[in-house]
């Protein structure tokens, strides 16, 4: 679906000639002529206007009554007046009317100073109250949820919060109850409003009716400074604005970017800033001394790490976690490759892919952008759960489906929260994306008239999917239009057969003609925030910066674990990652960490692996302190800017890496953050010429720049000849194991006082049929086990979960699914 073209129309507002895009509402059109029309309920992000508050009344010539400018589109030749006596009288009347029941407790109200009601009363109100009768009263303040306080007296019933819940997040929780003056905002069932995106209503509310609990009474607008940066808690990399007072981050607000976040934030991004200032945070370097980690001076920590790394010679393996910036990743691979002379550096959890596949999947021509999700003809969500993996994309997909009639198909193993919006849902067995993609490719062939029905049936069975559904999906993708976006999770290319699954994905993309088509393409949701940037910066065992060839490929993450356990490697360098939490196969990592004679970690929190195994811990900067760049999954380089100074003794991490290199006898030539950026840009041909100034506040998509032509072309981008994979294991009374990482599974959530209550504990998601067979009920405690390992979990039923499968969480401190080996597990009542 091509983006709608904008035609300009000319109209007259207050005697000025104004040229505005056709079909925008008068309120927005007036801005093109610098005319301000006051609004309360209108918010373009919320979609169609509702005209609830009547604040925006204007006079339009030819229409006898005053009109709401928020719901009247501009027309050619329209003559509008906003300053006539009638309009003024109406505006004054509306303000007076809104203030009738308003408590006007501005001095104690958290919105005071940034309150549209204050501003509009001051600017457009009559300045006098004639109301002497008693006002309406509600009990206040109340907690709408542990994160949001509600003051019903202040509510002006603009519907914004309700519309958000009903039409944007589609959690359908908020409603207006009762009638007339007694109307109030509440959840339908009276439960707290807990949802992944609930915090957005705080920013939407035009009065102080909905306020943030953690920010409650912390500061006034004149006490604070705003500081724009990027949230690095998930791959969606939303643009944020930190509210800083006295060198502390007190709040996170959205910084609208239509190409990234569309102006929304998830609650993790909005409230996990608290982790910057908690006592649990590591703010001093530490060394293991007598079995305990003890704080030491930087000098000692650096000296200890440098001399021990020097002794390890080339037998060092390094792993970078998702929150690592491009610069840190780049310096890490320089440190490992040039100074420690090792090749073992990785940033991917799921195992390495061939360099060719990286190049083919990352090729600029094959990339879709975030906004393509909204304007595509069809979107296929492949083996990822946007709300957990990159929450803000979930809202974008919903928007496309709701407002632009995008045909949505969900092909995953785990049921998705997008299922109800999808035209089509296909389930396949966990880890069988390869067979599924081959089946899909064959089905697309069948749709094009090739005689491959049997092949589809065979492959679908191998994938544990329904052949009919695969055919339906192929039909949907081929008939709904040319612009198809495939949003695929990195777990597609994880595991032993990841390479082949990646090739199968390229075959499907080739069949659908996604390459070289604007508005169509692939969009990967990496496992780590900066997965894409780290790969491009060269933090891969088989690729240098810019996905260049390396002389000798090193070991991937799993290979490093095995090599350390076997004694081939003796030291581990962990940059922002705790393998026990972030990487699969916890058993192997426990063995490796036990055996390693040196573990150097950059960490912000003492998670289990760091606490038990690290020998040297450098304090990691929080994202509010970092300087550098990250790369969005769609190729947008975004800039992180420090909002606050370094907490405690924390130091910039590029500095730590450069200092270590210096102590090991090699000057990396990096003395400031921007110097690291310059080196990175110089080393990655397709970033050529990018400067921090050019990135600015909005970032820059490198695939859209000219230098993108320097992207190394893959030897072949398909189609590939592929062997059918081994079929999904038959459950035979046991269950297939699928894993997922919840949006709340992050150490930042675990330590944030406000978000703690959301930090997940292990739960086993089962289909109702399996639960019935195993005689389990929701809330039952079970043990899930395989090959001698077991974890304990609480049963949760999910409609739409495929039969014969159980889903468990990873990345949690206890009972993480990474303890189990799978692919089959037994579920027993505990």
């Amino acid at each position: 679906m091509p983006r709608p073209e904008t035609r300009m129309v000319t109209l007259s507002i207050d005697g000025r000639e104004v040229t505005a895009p056709e079909n925008v509402m008068l309120v927005d059109g007036a801005k093109y002529g610098d005319v301000e029309i006051p609004v309360f309920c209108y918010e373009p992000k919320l979609g169609a206007p509702v005209g609830a508050c009547r604040m925006c009344l204007v006079e339009i010539e030819g229409i006898p009554k005053l009109q709401t400018a928020c719901s009247t589109p501009v027309k050619d030749g329209m003559v509008v007046h906003t300053q006539t006596a009638r309009v003024h009288a109406a505006q004054e009347a509306i303000v007076e009317f809104l203030l009738i029941n308003h408590p006007l407790d501005c001095p104690v109200c958290d919105k005071g100073g940034e309150c549209p009601l204050q501003d509009i009363s001051f600017g457009w109100g009559g300045g006098r109250s004639r109301f002497i009768e008693p006002k309406r009263h509600f009990q206040k303040p109340l907690a709408l949820s542990p994160l949001i306080a509600i003051d019903r007296e202040r509510c002006i019933l603009c519907y914004r919060c309700v519309r958000f819940s009903q039409e944007i997040a589609e959690d359908y929780q908020l409603v207006l109850q009762e009638r007339a003056a007694h109307t109030f905002v509440a959840t339908f069932d009276g439960h707290p409003y807990v949802a992944p995106f609930s915090g957005n209503i705080i920013e939407l509310c035009p009065v102080g009716a909905l306020t943030s609990q953690p920010y409650r009474f912390r500061a006034r607008p004149w006490d604070i400074e705003g500081s724009g940066s990027v949230c690095t808690l998930c791959p969606a990399q939303c643009n944020v604005n930190f509210t800083v007072r006295d060198e502390r981050v007190l709040r996170v607000l959205a910084r609208d970017h239509a190409e990234v976040d569309d102006g929304w934030l998830c609650d993790k991004g909005r409230f996990a800033y608290q982790a910057v200032h908690v006592d649990e945070r590591i703010t001093r370097p530490m060394i293991r001394d007598g079995g305990e980690l003890r704080p030491v001076s930087w000098e000692r920590a650096l000296e200890h790490a440098a001399s021990a790394l020097g002794r390890a010679q080339a037998r060092v393996g390094a792993i970078a976690g998702g929150e690592t910036t491009n610069e840190e990743g780049f310096l890490l691979q320089r440190l490992v490759r040039e100074v420690l002379l090792s090749n073992d550096v990785d940033s991917r959890a799921g195992g390495s892919l061939s360099l060719d596949l990286h190049r083919a999947l990352g090729a600029p021509a094959a990339q879709a952008t975030v906004s393509d999700l909204e304007f595509a003809d069809a979107v296929l969500v492949l083996d990822c759960e946007p709300v957990d993996d990159a929450p803000i994309l979930d809202l974008r997909i919903r928007k496309g489906v709701r407002r632009r009639r995008v045909e949505l198909a969900v092909a995953t193993s785990r049921p998705s929260s997008l299922d109800p919006n999808a035209r089509l849902r296909v389930r396949f067995a966990p880890g069988c994306a390869e067979a599924f993609l081959l089946a899909l490719e064959a089905a697309i062939g069948t749709a094009a008239g090739e005689p491959r029905r049997e092949e589809v049936a065979r492959l679908a069975q191998a994938a544990g999917a329904d052949a009919g559904a695969v055919h339906a999906l192929a039909d949907l993708l081929t008939t709904s239009g040319d612009d198809v976006v495939v949003l695929w999770g990195e777990r597609v290319t994880g595991g032993e057969r990841g390479e082949y699954a990646g090739r199968a994905l390229l075959n499907v993309a080739g069949r659908l003609g996604l390459r070289d088509r604007d508005g169509a393409g692939l969009l990967c949701v990496p496992a780590g925030t900066n997965g894409r940037g780290l790969a491009e910066a060269g933090v891969l065992p088989n690729a240098g910066p810019g996905l260049s060839e390396v002389e000798e490929a090193g070991r991937d993450a799993a290979g490093i674990a095995a090599a350390v356990a076997a004694g081939d490697l003796v030291a581990l360098y962990l940059l922002h990652t705790d393998p026990l939490r972030d990487l699969p196969n916890r058993g192997a990592w426990e063995a490796a960490l036990d055996r390693a004679s040196l573990v150097v970690a950059h960490a912000a929190f003492l998670t289990e692996g760091i606490r038990a195994h690290a020998d040297v811990v450098f304090p990691a900067e929080s994202y509010a302190e970092k300087e550098g760049t990250v790369t969005h999954p769609d190729g947008r380089l975004q800039r992180l800017r420090p909002a606050i100074g370094h907490q405690g003794e924390t130091r910039a991490e590029w500095q730590v890496l450069a200092e270590l290199a210096r102590r090991l006898g090699r000057d990396l030539g990096v003395h400031t953050g921007p110097m690291a950026t310059d080196q990175l840009v110089a080393a990655v041909p397709f970033y050529a010429g990018i400067t921090l100034d050019e990135l600015g506040g909005k970032g820059l998509r490198w695939p859209a720049r000219e230098a993108a032509s320097a992207f190394p072309a893959p030897a072949t981008a398909g189609p590939f000849e592929l062997e059918p994979p081994a079929p999904a294991p038959a459950p035979n009374g046991r269950l297939r194991l699928g894993t997922f990482r919840s949006i709340w599974a992050a150490p930042e959530v675990e330590v944030s006082p406000a978000l703690k209550f959301l930090h997940p504990r292990q739960r086993a998601e089962l289909s109702p049929a399996d639960a019935q067979r195993l005689k389990l009920f929701p809330g039952d405690r079970v043990t899930v086990g395989s090959d001698g390992h077991s974890v304990s979990a609480i049963v949760a039923l999910r409609d739409g979960a495929p039969e014969g499968t159980v889903f468990l969480e990873t990345a949690i401190p206890e009972d993480s699914a990474s303890l189990l080996e799978g692919p089959l597990v037994e579920v027993r009542k505990a």
């Binding site: 009474f217 004149w222 006490d223």
Partner: protein
């Protein structure tokens, strides 16, 4: 050779040099005229105020050191920590950090109270804007003007200091005085 000023010379007409009677008057006459006032006041006696034993009374609207107030009946603080005074202050010398009242700890009458309330008196220009801005008459300009100290940081007055009665109250000028 001396420098020839040429046409640049401007000659000035001076009055006659003082001397004689004119000179004598100049030397003593004006002085005596001044002394007349002095000697006339000798009869009134000394009016020196023996500060600090004695203090100058101030006018009712004198803007001295600030006071924070409590409600007389409940003893709760009037200040709700709204920070409006801080916003109004042209010298930017007020710092308010608010917190929420709880049933166990009720400090002020509203939902919030000032957990930290500091005025840096070394920066205050005693304009009184804070008093005007306060919606609850919680802060007023008091009468006290004795604020010298040995240490600049001692001039940051905390909430407790502002709420407390001053040790020595400056006298108020009586009506018509």
């Amino acid at each position: 050779m001396p420098w020839n000023p040429g046409d640049d010379v401007i000659s000035v007409q001076r009055g006659p040099r003082p001397g004689g009677a004119g000179g004598a008057y100049r030397a003593f006459g004006e002085t005596l005229r001044g002394l007349k006032t002095t000697f006339a006041r000798v009869l009134e006696g000394p009016i020196t105020i023996q500060y600090p034993e004695e203090k100058v009374p101030v006018y009712p609207r004198f803007r001295g050191r600030h006071r924070l107030h409590r409600f007389e009946d409940t003893g709760l603080e009037k200040c709700v920590g709204c920070s409006l005074c801080a916003a109004a202050c042209p010298a930017d010398c007020i710092r308010v950090v608010a917190a929420e009242n709880t049933p166990e700890l009720r400090v002020s009458a509203g939902e919030r109270y000032a957990a930290v309330y500091e005025i840096n008196l070394s920066r205050c220009i005693f304009c009184g804007y804070c008093e005007v801005a306060c919606p609850f008459d919680a802060i007023t300009m008091g009468n006290d003007y004795e604020m010298s100290d040995y240490n600049r940081s001692d001039l940051i007055f905390t909430k407790e200091m502002l709420l407390a009665e001053p040790f020595d109250r400056a006298p108020l000028r009586a009506e018509g005085e």
